[in-house]
């Protein structure tokens, strides 16, 4: 690989334990994991191997028990709770397996939530969210409640919500698990086409081998460790040339 990787996420010897004493469970056992800007990085592995925990720690939703996490060269674990929230609000977007849309809000309102949380006025936020939804092919469903949307449409709204505030890192947890193959492919098409950006990293946690071909890099996880990494495609963006993408 000849392109230079600009790291978005760097985990070093990352550990996470749950419980104490005899009931303690080590979920992350010294994870070393990098994800680069401009890449769609898949995190794969069997159930219970620690993928979701790793993503939660990277997102600052869980504290680690040891090791380091750097996002865009900043050690987020040294942030105060409030700084971490504000960092997450500005820099992170999420796509969940179960969409987690607010049932009382329309598609546009749901997609606008990150902007509203950042203090953008309602009308401006909803207009901006509508523009993103239109890009994702949801122009016919802007004012529809989640209960009236199909699974694929809900996931598109969730994707719009993850993109609307232009975050630098998007974390997707099993985004196609609740969808049939064709719909899952369509969602991944949209994710690859809209989320991947030279200034942004996208991490997808998935079991779904049918969508592996979208990955630029794949990190295989088992028993709380990264056991294997693969680079599928070289980084071709101008900013990341001449270097080697690696997984520690």
């Amino acid at each position: 690989m000849s392109a230079k990787m600009i790291p978005a996420v760097q985990c070093r010897d990352l550990r996470k334990d749950f419980g104490e004493g005899t009931t303690q469970v080590q979920v992350l056992r010294g994870v070393n994991f990098d994800a680069a800007q401009g890449q769609l990085t898949f995190l794969v592995g069997p159930s219970g191997c620690g993928k979701t925990t790793l993503v939660s720690v990277i997102a600052g939703l869980l504290d680690s028990s040891g090791g380091e996490v750097e996002l865009f060269n900043q050690n987020v674990e040294q942030f105060s709770a409030r700084e971490r929230i504000l960092f997450r609000r500005k820099n992170l977007g999420f796509v969940y397996q179960q969409y987690n849309l607010l049932p009382a809000l329309t598609s546009a309102e749901n997609a606008a939530v990150p902007l509203l949380a950042a203090g953008v006025r309602r009308r401006a936020a909803v207009d901006q969210a509508k523009a993103v939804l239109v890009k994702l092919g949801m122009e016919e469903r802007l004012d529809t409640l989640p209960s009236k949307l199909s699974g694929g449409q809900q996931q598109r709204v969730a994707l719009a919500r993850a993109l609307v505030h232009e975050p630098r890192l998007i974390l997707c947890d099993e985004p196609t698990a609740a969808l049939d193959h064709a719909t899952g492919e369509a969602v991944m098409d949209l994710l690859a086409g809209n989320a991947v950006h030279p200034d942004r990293a996208v991490i997808v946690v998935t079991h779904d081998t049918r969508v592996f071909h979208y990955a630029d890099a794949i990190a295989h996880m088992d028993d709380g460790r990264i056991v294997k990494t693969e680079s599928r495609r070289p980084i071709t963006t101008p900013e990341v040339l001449d270097g080697v993408a690696t997984f520690a």
């Binding site: 409030r82 929230i85 997450r88 999420f94 179960q98 049932p103 009382a104 809000l105 309102e109 990150p114």
Partner: protein, 379 residues
């Protein structure tokens, strides 16, 4: 995010309406019971309040409330008049003769005998006729409710004849006297006539009504009267509170109403609080998603308080409206006249509802604030 909070609140229509109904019902019950309770106790001093001419009531030293009279000696009136600071003092008689109509309908009544010369204590709110006609022979003024009780379904009419303990009496006026504690007709007549209606005893004087001289404090004058005569002297306000305290202490009224009020409060706190708490718990995943997106704790606190106080204010307003309409309707009925929705009751209930919603918010907030936003990654 206020908009998001309100949409979350109103999105589940059934729970939203359930919360509002619970708070409205609780508000109605609290305002209704506290106002009726206050109204009934207020009635214990109705006849005191209706005497606007005098400020001080002088009575036997052992008298505790209006109904409990022990006749004073006629010389007591002179002794009271002799106290420094007394502008004037007149006698008042209170008895309970049986009133009977010519067609045989009868009822025990309150009969107030007013000073013959001055008619001090005469009812000032007249619906028909004139209290000045009390100077006529056998004249009585009856209150509206008493008239309706004795002459049900008949129009108000003056110069009708009734009997008071077998003595002929002529109705010369119909007053709008405040409702007494028990639903008896209230008759006003002259002192000399009242003692005839009730039947002569060795002493007849129930109360001495006193007006202090200009510039003399009524409470101070009460102290002087008590010191000089050994009788009990109370201002109108004090005497009314004496009556209220007596009934509070010696009847089951406060216990009965207290239980209802306590149940309403507990139901309000438990049901409204629990419903709101469950509403929050059922939305925990939504709050988790919002937390993960990067909403601060302060913002979440604001959202939950906004939700709590929105349902609180709407429910309280509807409940207060229901209570107002209730009293508006029943206030026009003779049996419940004078019982009104008191502003103190509205304020007290408002305070209770704030307490309910703050408690519910605290319980809900605790769950939301300790919630790990990583919950959103669980399928």
């Amino acid at each position: 995010m206020n908009f998001v909070a309100l949409k979350m609140l109103t999105g589940d229509r059934a729970k939203y309406l359930g919360l509002i109904f619970t708070i409205a019902f609780c508000t109605f019950l609290l305002q209704n019971q506290t106002s009726i309770f206050s109204g009934i106790l207020k009635r214990t001093g109705s006849q005191i309040a209706d005497v606007s001419d005098a400020e001080i009531w002088v009575m036997d030293a052992k008298t505790e409330y209006f109904e409990q009279t022990k006749a004073l000696k006629d010389t007591d009136l002179t002794r009271v008049r002799g106290v420094d600071g007394v502008e004037w003092a007149v006698k008042l008689f209170k008895g309970s003769p049986v009133a009977r109509t010519l067609d045989g309908k009868f009822a025990v009544s309150f009969c107030l005998g007013l000073d013959d010369a001055t008619l001090t204590g005469a009812p000032r709110k007249m619906l028909l006729g004139s209290w000045e006609r009390l100077r006529e022979p056998d004249a009585v003024v009856i209150d509206h409710a008493g008239y309706v009780l004795l002459f049900p379904g008949e129009p108000l009419q003056l110069d009708r004849t009734i009997e008071l303990n077998d003595h002929k009496a002529n109705i010369v006026g119909i007053s709008d006297a405040s409702a007494p504690f028990v639903s008896w007709p209230v008759m006003h007549t002259r002192y000399s006539q009242a003692v005839n209606f009730v039947g002569r005893e060795r002493t007849q004087l129930s109360y001495v009504l006193v007006r202090p001289q200009l510039g003399i404090d009524a409470r101070e004058l009460c102290r002087r009267i008590e010191a000089q005569t050994g009788l009990r002297a109370r201002t109108s306000g004090q005497f009314r509170w004496d009556c209220i305290r007596y009934y509070l202490k010696n009847t089951g009224i406060p216990v009965n109403f207290g239980i209802t009020i306590a149940i309403a409060l507990i139901v309000g706190i438990v049901v409204a609080g629990q419903t709101f708490y469950l509403f929050t718990v059922e939305n925990l995943k939504q709050f988790g998603a919002i937390k993960a997106i990067g909403v601060t704790h302060w913002r979440l606190i604001g959202m939950i308080l906004l939700q709590a106080f929105t349902v609180g204010i709407i429910g309280f307003s509807i409940g207060t409206g229901m209570a107002a309409e209730f009293f508006n309707f029943f206030g026009q009925k003779l049996a419940t006249r004078g019982i009104i929705l008191m502003w103190q009751s509205v304020a007290l209930t408002g305070g209770c509802m704030v307490l309910v919603m703050v408690l519910a918010s605290i319980l809900s907030l605790r769950r939301v604030l300790v919630l790990e936003p990583a919950i959103v990654f669980r399928g």
